[in-house]
């Protein structure tokens, strides 16, 4: 079918063309009160075309992958190319010299039987209830896995193929003590089913909810703050866009003009490693077919590079960093990191807490899609956590906001913990250790 698309494209006047095809299957299992109350499965596919027409790149896609769609695909791509008036040149890539092998497919996961998965997710819920009688309900208890395969093929001779599978599990529990209600959650992702331990996962969610019971607000003011690993990773993720060369070129990143300048404290090193062991965004080629590579984006506080795709690299007269993204066949080419993380430090979270006379440990940040401005760097986020007094956790804290500016915060990182943790994988897999920040403003009572 790909050849037929290219043939039709040539007849229409498209020059270089590329087809991106993906197919996949997925399963998800949801348990509520010992019952398998949700079961979903899917098999899906989609195909997109991009091609150069009259000097501009046009895109189109379809989920009806058969020959009846070819005419529309080609017509849409040509029409879309015609209205592009950006002068930045987007082009089809002929291929890198070599590609490192990345194995993101684990046969063992495909061999796990459905019965086993159902037993696992039921035991996860059961375990949560068993751990403490204050667990009033389990809001969500899910296991899911998926398999995906993508093919990229273009008229410049590039043909790349990639397949991967992944499993995930997520539990959210509600703890109740009188009128006091608190929630806790835990998740795991990866393609080794045996690494999912129901007891550990349930314990993590339950402990989190219980620890927050009895939480109160605190007095407003500036505090020494430790942002725990998972919350720090969430915050990092929300600001990932500032490292994109696209944002820089479009005047939408304050990192413009800051290359080789100090933008963060010495303690802050930020790495993009597409070949990281166990990385859930590991890949050998990016969304344009360019071989991926390891890079330090920030080294001991100094900004070393932006993240580039072919178009933005050409504009800046540099080589692409292999960070072109193609979220799915529905997306045009953008920019995204791969396994993207803050380098870990030496000491544990407990050791970091022990140094603080009076401060706050933030364990959860909320409203990350609304309470921050990635352009200005300003954030003001609802948060949960604990008050630290005399080097110890003294009590849980709720109904507070943590406010500051991300660019200022990077400069005020006093220490990074040894507890690097990654968030839920999306296009990128983003991680951070716990971060100690000199001063952030906390609003409460």
């Amino acid at each position: 079918m790909i050849d037929k698309i290219f043939q039709k494209g040539r007849e229409t006047g498209l020059n270089d063309m590329e087809v991106y095809y993906s197919e996949g299957s997925s399963l998800s299992l949801k348990v509520f009160q010992k019952d398998l109350d949700g079961y979903s499965l899917s098999e899906s596919e989609g195909l997109s075309l991009r091609g150069v027409y009259k000097g501009k790149m046009g895109y189109s896609y379809t989920e009806k992958v058969d020959e009846t769609s070819i005419d529309q695909l080609v017509k849409d791509a040509a029409e879309n190319a015609l209205i592009i008036d950006s002068e930045d040149e987007e082009y089809i890539f002929e291929g890198s010299k070599e590609y490192k092998k990345v194995d993101s497919f684990n046969q063992a996961l495909s061999n796990v039987g459905e019965e086993q998965k159902i037993n696992f997710v039921k035991s996860l819920e059961e375990e949560a209830f068993r751990l403490d009688k204050r667990i009033a309900s389990v809001e969500v208890c899910i296991y899911g896995d998926g398999y995906g395969e993508t093919i990229m093929s273009n008229t410049k001779g590039l043909f790349l193929r990639d397949k991967s599978n992944i499993a995930y599990t997520y539990i959210a529990v509600v703890a109740k003590d009188g009128e006091d209600i608190k929630t806790g959650m835990a998740y795991r992702t990866g393609n080794d089913f045996n690494a999912f331990n129901a007891q550990d996962i349930a314990r993590e969610a339950v402990d989190e909810a219980l620890a927050l019971l009895g939480a109160k607000s605190v007095k407003s003011g500036d505090y020494n703050v430790i942002i725990r690993n998972s919350a720090a990773a969430d915050l990092m993720e929300a600001f990932t866009g500032i490292f994109s060369a696209e944002a820089v070129q479009k005047n939408l990143s304050l990192l413009k003009g800051k290359l080789n300048e100090k933008i963060a404290s010495d303690k802050f090193t930020l790495i993009d490693d597409p070949y990281m062991e166990g990385g859930l965004a590991s890949k050998s080629f990016d969304g344009e077919g360019v071989a991926c590579k390891y890079k330090k984006v920030v080294d001991k506080g100094v900004l070393k590079t932006y993240l580039y795709n072919l178009k933005t690299a050409k504009k800046d007269g540099v080589d692409t960093t292999g960070n072109a993204s193609k979220g799915s066949y529905k997306s045009s080419i953008g920019i995204s990191p791969s396994n993207f993380f803050v380098e870990k430090g030496e000491r544990t979270l407990d050791e970091m807490v022990a140094d603080i006379d009076k401060g706050i440990l933030i364990t959860e940040l909320q409203g990350l899609h609304s309470g921050l401005n990635s352009v200005s760097g300003d954030f003001s986020l609802a948060a949960l956590g604990f008050l630290i007094q005399d080097g110890k956790i003294s009590r849980p804290v709720e109904q507070i906001t943590m406010a500051g500016n991300y660019f200022d915060m990077l400069k005020n990182i006093e220490e990074t913990g040894s507890d690097l943790k990654f968030g839920m994988p999306g296009e990128a897999y983003i991680g951070s250790p716990s971060l100690r920040i000199k001063k952030l403003s906390i609003a409460g009572e």
């Binding site: 499965l41 989920e63 950006s86 409203g367 609304s370 309470g371 401005n373 003001s380 609003a443």
Partner: protein
């Protein structure tokens, strides 16, 4: 979209093991998106989403399967696979579909697919020019154009068989103002269940100027104070407070399993007597409106709260079973990839009697949230947070200097009781609402309201 025999056979296959209800949903949707940055069209994407989802109930449990292929073999095969997940005794089902016409509430005048793309770009250029030329401090403007035509078919084992077409259009304008190395942004994104006539009749200049005005005001603003204080939230998108703080907790998704703080409270006073709140998916041509929901039920006006008393929830077919209550035409999904569930449509606090100027004049000291950003809520605890895009200090009954970076936090149950003034200038705003069944268009709305006390998170002290 599919022939009657195939639908009946697929539904029969879905019930072949022991399910007591089966439904098939087919979607064929064309999307058009154009992005303009700095006055130049940067990217465009158009394409076709196509697929079918099969849902089976057995008591309170449900099974969902979807596929992109709707040929006979794939569909029957998918239905059988899904059926296998259901345990139980086979019930004899005779399926007899009766095709019913849908009463269309969203009249479309101009099919967006019939309009040249260059005309759509002209609309964007106009927005760009107005926004960019608003002030010298404006350094970047992005404009997003979206239109889509979603054809759906839904049929179920009770004989329901309906087809519908939903057309929506939206224009997003985002302005960035810069000053002394700092940047602030302003955003406006009107939308409607209309065709291309939406763009022709839209006051583009107004929205473009508003986006830029907010950015410029905020780049000149100081940081918001923090602490507990009275907060006045203006009409329109300010309704996001009710959406987050209360609306999600009234969706059967949260209520049926007892996970919402509002579960079991129908008939009880849950809000200040000044509050009447409504979810109405049947308002013609509104962004969150639909003729039938994704289970085939006509949309309707649902009174959620009347004078502070909880009247009802938003309920879908599956949760109706668990709750033993009637469905409310509220079952929605992003696409065939999602199993539908109870969601909001156009949700708003109804008009009260105060004049907006009275509300401001009677406030000694507090925050005036003129334009709101987004937010989120934890339905179990009722804790919400949302961002103030454009805020001002109020002193001695007067609106004073602008402040930036304020976030409002609180608990839904508390804030509902602390609404002490409700204005008479109801207005709707458009947003996308994300939840278990995906991201869907939804209106939020309210007149100006005052909350006697809320926690404001900012960077400055009191």
């Amino acid at each position: 979209m599919l022939n009657r025999k195939l639908i009946e056979d697929a539904l029969t296959a879905a019930l072949s093991i022991g399910g007591d209800f089966a439904e098939i949903f087919v979607e064929d949707r064309t999307n058009n998106g154009i992005v303009m940055i700095g006055g130049k069209v940067e990217s465009t994407m158009s394409g076709r989403d196509y697929g079918a989802g099969i849902r089976i109930f057995k008591g309170f449990n449900s099974v969902y399967a979807y596929t992109n292929k709707t040929d006979r073999d794939t569909l029957i095969e998918t239905a059988k696979k899904a059926a296998k997940a259901v345990e139980g005794n086979i019930i004899d089902h005779t399926i007899n579909l009766i095709k019913t016409d849908v009463n269309n509430i969203n009249t479309i005048q101009i099919d967006p697919s019939s309009v040249e793309k260059t005309r759509k770009v002209q609309v964007m250029k106009k927005a760009y020019d107005t926004a960019f030329n608003y002030d010298d401090l404006i350094t970047q403007v992005s404009v997003n154009y979206t239109d889509y035509i979603q054809n759906i078919m839904v049929a179920n084992s009770q004989g329901l068989w309906k087809e519908d077409t939903r057309v929506r259009s939206r224009l997003g304008i985002s302005s960035v103002a810069s000053k002394n190395g700092e940047m602030q942004s302003g955003f406006y994104a009107p939308g409607a269940s209309k065709g291309y006539e939406f763009f022709e009749n839209l006051d583009i200049d107004y929205y473009a100027r508003e986006a830029s005005r907010i950015a410029v005001t905020m780049v000149n603003a100081k940081y918001s104070p923090s602490g507990r204080m009275p907060v006045i939230i203006d009409n329109g998108f300010g309704g996001v407070i009710f959406h987050e703080a209360c609306g999600h907790g009234l969706e059967a998704t949260a209520v049926a399993k007892g996970l919402s703080v509002f579960a079991g409270k129908v008939g009880q006073q849950i809000a200040s007597p000044l509050v009447t709140a409504i979810d109405d998916g049947s308002i013609p041509n509104e962004w969150g409106s639909y003729s039938i929901d994704d289970e085939g039920t006509p949309s309707q006006r649902n009174v959620l709260i009347e004078n502070g008393i909880l009247k009802g929830y938003m309920i879908d077919m599956l949760n109706a079973r668990r709750m033993n209550m009637d469905i409310t035409g509220s079952s929605r999904r992003q696409s065939y990839r999602f199993s539908p569930t109870s969601r909001m449509s156009n949700t708003f606090i109804d008009n009260g009697s105060s004049k907006p100027e009275e509300i401001i004049a009677s406030t000694e000291k507090g925050l005036y949230a003129k334009n709101m950003g987004g937010g989120s809520v934890n339905p179990a605890t009722g804790e919400f947070n949302f961002a103030v895009m454009e805020g001002y200090i109020i002193e001695k009954g007067k609106i004073k200097e602008p402040v930036r970076g304020a976030t409002l936090i609180g608990k839904g149950t508390e804030v509902l009781n602390k609404i002490d003034m409700v204005g008479n200038n109801l207005l709707q705003g458009q947003g996308m609402c994300g939840s278990v069944s995906g991201s869907i268009p939804a209106n939020v709305g309210q007149p100006m309201i005052r909350v006697s006390e809320l926690t404001v998170g900012g960077r400055e002290g009191e």
